[in-house]
Symmetry: D3
Subunit: 301 residues, 6 copies
Amino acid sequence: MSRPLTTAAQGTEAPLAPAPLAPLPRVMIEPVVAAALREDLGRGGDVTTNATVPASAQATARLVAREAGVIAGLDLAALAFSLVDDRVRFEADLTDGQPAAAGQQVAAVTGPARALLTAERVALNFVSHLSGIATATAEIAAAIADTGTRVCCTRKTTPGLRALEKHAVRAGGGLNHRMGLDDAVLIKDNHVALAGGVAAAVRSARQAVGHMMPIEVEVDTLDQLRELLEDPVDAVLLDNMTPAELAEAVALVDGRIVTEASGRITAQSAPALAASGVDLISTGWITHSAPILDIGLDIAR
Amino acid sequence: MSRPLTTAAQGTEAPLAPAPLAPLPRVMIEPVVAAALREDLGRGGDVTTNATVPASAQATARLVAREAGVIAGLDLAALAFSLVDDRVRFEADLTDGQPAAAGQQVAAVTGPARALLTAERVALNFVSHLSGIATATAEIAAAIADTGTRVCCTRKTTPGLRALEKHAVRAGGGLNHRMGLDDAVLIKDNHVALAGGVAAAVRSARQAVGHMMPIEVEVDTLDQLRELLEDPVDAVLLDNMTPAELAEAVALVDGRIVTEASGRITAQSAPALAASGVDLISTGWITHSAPILDIGLDIAR
Amino acid sequence: MSRPLTTAAQGTEAPLAPAPLAPLPRVMIEPVVAAALREDLGRGGDVTTNATVPASAQATARLVAREAGVIAGLDLAALAFSLVDDRVRFEADLTDGQPAAAGQQVAAVTGPARALLTAERVALNFVSHLSGIATATAEIAAAIADTGTRVCCTRKTTPGLRALEKHAVRAGGGLNHRMGLDDAVLIKDNHVALAGGVAAAVRSARQAVGHMMPIEVEVDTLDQLRELLEDPVDAVLLDNMTPAELAEAVALVDGRIVTEASGRITAQSAPALAASGVDLISTGWITHSAPILDIGLDIAR
Amino acid sequence: MSRPLTTAAQGTEAPLAPAPLAPLPRVMIEPVVAAALREDLGRGGDVTTNATVPASAQATARLVAREAGVIAGLDLAALAFSLVDDRVRFEADLTDGQPAAAGQQVAAVTGPARALLTAERVALNFVSHLSGIATATAEIAAAIADTGTRVCCTRKTTPGLRALEKHAVRAGGGLNHRMGLDDAVLIKDNHVALAGGVAAAVRSARQAVGHMMPIEVEVDTLDQLRELLEDPVDAVLLDNMTPAELAEAVALVDGRIVTEASGRITAQSAPALAASGVDLISTGWITHSAPILDIGLDIAR
Amino acid sequence: MSRPLTTAAQGTEAPLAPAPLAPLPRVMIEPVVAAALREDLGRGGDVTTNATVPASAQATARLVAREAGVIAGLDLAALAFSLVDDRVRFEADLTDGQPAAAGQQVAAVTGPARALLTAERVALNFVSHLSGIATATAEIAAAIADTGTRVCCTRKTTPGLRALEKHAVRAGGGLNHRMGLDDAVLIKDNHVALAGGVAAAVRSARQAVGHMMPIEVEVDTLDQLRELLEDPVDAVLLDNMTPAELAEAVALVDGRIVTEASGRITAQSAPALAASGVDLISTGWITHSAPILDIGLDIAR
Amino acid sequence: MSRPLTTAAQGTEAPLAPAPLAPLPRVMIEPVVAAALREDLGRGGDVTTNATVPASAQATARLVAREAGVIAGLDLAALAFSLVDDRVRFEADLTDGQPAAAGQQVAAVTGPARALLTAERVALNFVSHLSGIATATAEIAAAIADTGTRVCCTRKTTPGLRALEKHAVRAGGGLNHRMGLDDAVLIKDNHVALAGGVAAAVRSARQAVGHMMPIEVEVDTLDQLRELLEDPVDAVLLDNMTPAELAEAVALVDGRIVTEASGRITAQSAPALAASGVDLISTGWITHSAPILDIGLDIAR
């Protein structure tokens, strides 16, 4: 295998504490938060709050997890409040990637009451969506925690939110697959068919790309895998295989390249797949279909 | 009730065939589709396809529903392909709002093979996400189809996609609630508390807004409802009430204002709530937690 | 009338002091102010000031109303200065919606002299344009202040400035009509003709929209009004009627729906129209043709 | 005078037919038209039209001048329709800069009825605003047509619309002054005071700028003018002078530099000022306070 | 070496004809071309052309290479013309990546003369800048064409133009290194120092990133290289080494990982470095300091 | 000459110390710096730094000129760091336009180590590119410092960076020519041919533009110059003339208009051209082909 994954058995290495998740720089998140606020404020602002809440009213609010899960997106929530009124103070009790119990306070927000109410929905939309992804990821990660297999995501993300959703996957303990079409080669069945075979596709790809761009090939059968291994690339995507097929595939690969299983994987099905010894299982479900984590805002006056 | 909903009993009116869903103008959707493509293309474009697929290869692909559901977002899928290469021809078999059976072809796409593969993921991300919302909406709508109650959405939408998700709700047969903070007044508990009571909040709102902005008030108890009805507004949001409480609320209102029930409503719980006779049930679940409708692209060469 | 306007006689209610006008959040106004500055700075910045004024020079300037009027847009002026140099201090003597006498100081600005001169024109362009709208609105409002009628605006606004101009109308004591095409239904003659009559148009609209979207219908004659009242909507736009016709229309409506008069209304013609008892008179003139309020910047060195 | 204006007496030159006004390239106008449409369409599109007008309905509409004036902005109107639906055909009867009589058809628009109604307001907002500016400009130009003086505009334009409004001034037969802060030097009283006198300001400016950037100086008195003429620049702005003072100023200048009069100039006051022989009179009124030219859309079905 | 570069000796593989360079999709290049046009058109458009060239004049122009070089950026030039006027026809004689001789026609452009003149400078600015990069790249590539070494670029690109400049490097026969900070790990001296050594840095990186993100480490000495090879990553950057040191490094690596040499490399110094057998030499010079390729526009009337 | 350049002999005027270069306002530079950061951060941020550098690590870094040159772009570098993390402190030792010796510290940057490493490349890309332009300009300026001739730039700038590159030219002691197509008239051979001669082109231009827009005409021969001088404009561009021809041209002009020489001018060829007495020599080389000034970041821990 070209570059051993840490979670794969690394005999001589002591286990590492996972590094704390790095926040996304403000320059990356400000446009999406500002756009979300403008989408909600429309052409008239928060008419309800402006009509009913005195401008001078101050308030404190608590972001509370209504159910247990892993938190992600706190920086976006904080930014939503401060972009509405920079006098709002946001104090987080947790950081992205940490678990919250049901009923636990996640953050406290203090400032003009109008700003708290105006930014509330946008802040919650971000943090509940991203925490939903982190939680779904963490559930799968937990289900396979006693194996050497790790969970990773796909390009099946919500349009416009890829950087945020990839971050949420990391918050949930998952790894990121490609960030887009341009940062790695993933040769799928259609490419193979149009290129005239796996070998031709691989040769063309090697010719085209530099050394900082890995090459992975999708195979559906063990025969295709055997063909690929005659001239191995960096990784193989084993699509829609049974646990038994995966185990045989892992044996065939024998550590030479990274093995990745995919195909409608859930927390339920993951352990059986991981038992095969694959390095990774990838799933679009955690980004495209995870329900939100219910997080609410309680105003304490 | 100030403006009778058509689905509420309208004695003398013949039932209307629902109007076909109007598409969103291209000027509204092009920025979000272009942004999604740029997000995926990154700084290098589709390296895999460019390396493996001949520029001259032509192909035809079929968008196929892998499971049954209601389709939404076909215009966005079509636009994704044409923004990558304007020679691609997209022929839709259905229009937004129509149901697809499992395995049914939704659209056919013909053109340069590279363009089909490059735009595939973005096109599918849009159509599967929006069809998921339409399908979830339609499920609740179907569950209460034999009542006078209709389902509507909330502002709990994915940041940046509100116009699209509101459209998907309409595709699923639901109604839209507020589009944002600026197009209607919705007085919630926090507003009431900060304004000094329901009556004060309502008076302030009436003073502030014009005749094209409806006023709705959220109440948690029947006592609050009774207080509200002394000086009724356009609608009341009955939050987290049991079916029995809702029925009593509907009786109290007696058709004077629109009644809306909310609180963690699903297709399972909806019929019992609708049996109370409320005009509307609103739910954030259909926009923030609906899983995608699985739609794939099969390339026929 | 579905939702009684506060200014219409409300017997039992004590008169309310109008709520102070809420400012637009910075996240709404910063893009338009920044764009205006970039439009003026072009590709080279303020060559005159940079060539003639020492970088170290400090100055204080006074925004002065050269004529009497109602002020609007102070936040935009303040932002223009601070976006050029965040060391500028802007101290407003008034807030949006307050009247200024001829010669009265509206605000004082202190900071680097270069920044004051560079931002001057953009700041004044905003505040004089928006104060012109507020002043024109206030003139009509004053002319009908002893009636129950209120003035409101239209969608005839300057492209790109709708949110600001709607705010300026509120500053002048007017109400806002629709903010755009998407937040209320306004059925005009062309819609009626293409829908096959008023009744068909109204039925279609009711079918399509949710409870948070009011429906108004434009009528040109009393006969059309009578037809409309057989199945009343939320409001009626009485277009180009004489005061006598309006009075008859108001009598026909008899408080069941909101009545709005339109058609080339000015401060001169407004009182006669208001005498009819209509709830609202709407006019595009206040946004599309109001002259600026002359506001200048006097530098005190 | 450094560069003789053509309209000033040019003895030996035959009079030129004015060149037809060049349209602004689409790449310059598309962003502002698209933004205006998005501002109006909001998050839901044209709900009224979509609910009441059949998708298949075709229509023809006429843009008609309700009053006489000079037309400007037709390209923006055309673009508004085509950005909503590219099947709309827009046929202009006039081009920017041509006069329309009251009641005259300006353009015909044919296509899907929905698109005509959806784009109508944005199209009219552009063309009526810009035609208002062109008409106001043309009125002043006509008032001084028998003199050698020409009218020009200022930087007192509507934020975000400078390029369009400068174009409208040209359509009305006016000349453009500076386009922004960066394309010419205009030394005003505040610059003079902070630079330590006219001579110092002029010397600094000459040092700083290249040969493609003209220098103009504002003076309030004839004494200041005399001082300026000791070391003349390209043009002098004679601010708030009486016709008699202007005549004396023109005599002092004696053709050596361009003379420009400013200060609350209207079509009424312009002829007396022009009689002084100044080369130009400049006015902000034509851009910041001109009422719209009333242009309507008549749908012929 | 984890993934053998095709240009490195691949014994059993037949040599491949390089794949033709794929164009960047229009959705990627349109924003940058439109922005460049707007930057040049400013607030008034092309006043010279509009004043002097009749609107009806048609013309044909030839893009001609004034000196020999490799062409890149033709799509951007074509788009510049068509965004000014979509009636312009652009016929390319070459495609990106092909060489042009001095005096050779690169493309012919036909259409309204005004459009040709208005778009000329922007079109040439793109194609001459990008062809300059392609030519500089090709010069180094040619200098080492008889070795197994290939040239690649860095992140030292012109702000805002990275995707275009990376494309130009490919056009010149070079490979791309990282596209940005997010698509590969490159551990430099500062990272090592702050992480507490090479081994710690590598372990942390492996823990953090997925299998589609390669890891490269920069070393300055052979001792550092030896340390790295105890736990090898995907690639090593050998910074500022002499040809002799490089040769020793290559021998130490012995094909286990990719070797890359960097440090002020030019076409003159490249052959000596390549003789060491390194897989790649990388240089910022080709993107940040390459002079333009002189390409002009000759109008044939 | 219509407006004498200060550097041309001005007998009676004392020499002026050049005014310090004015910085570009933040509102002009923030979009381009933010875009450059987003381009580099991509969809995942700085994975290397986040994986290897502790979040708590503080560091100080020095921007050091690796070679002698004139500095430009420091504000952009400072902004790059602060947009990544607003806790970074940037202390400049020099200001734009000042020379740096090889090895000299240009600025010191202190703050979170991660932010320093993440912003490093973007900051250096700006400052090294712009300093390269300033240095190239200064070299030509120095070569002709003992003449009355000054160097100026052209519109041959990098797309998207014109305002910055024009600023860098000023930093190097050069003057700016036109900022774009809209701020001055420059009649070239193609315009002349399509207009039907120099005289016709000049007449048309005078008719079209106002007094704040200079007119320059390009001539290739002395005969063309003589024709132009019969009706002189503001400036003449003498293209590709020999020093002897230029001297004759300057004699013909005899101070009546500004003279500008152009045509592949370098620091080597400039003195001979300047000896002719032309007012200006203009060159695209300084913006489109100047190599960067090598500036590095040394982290001191």
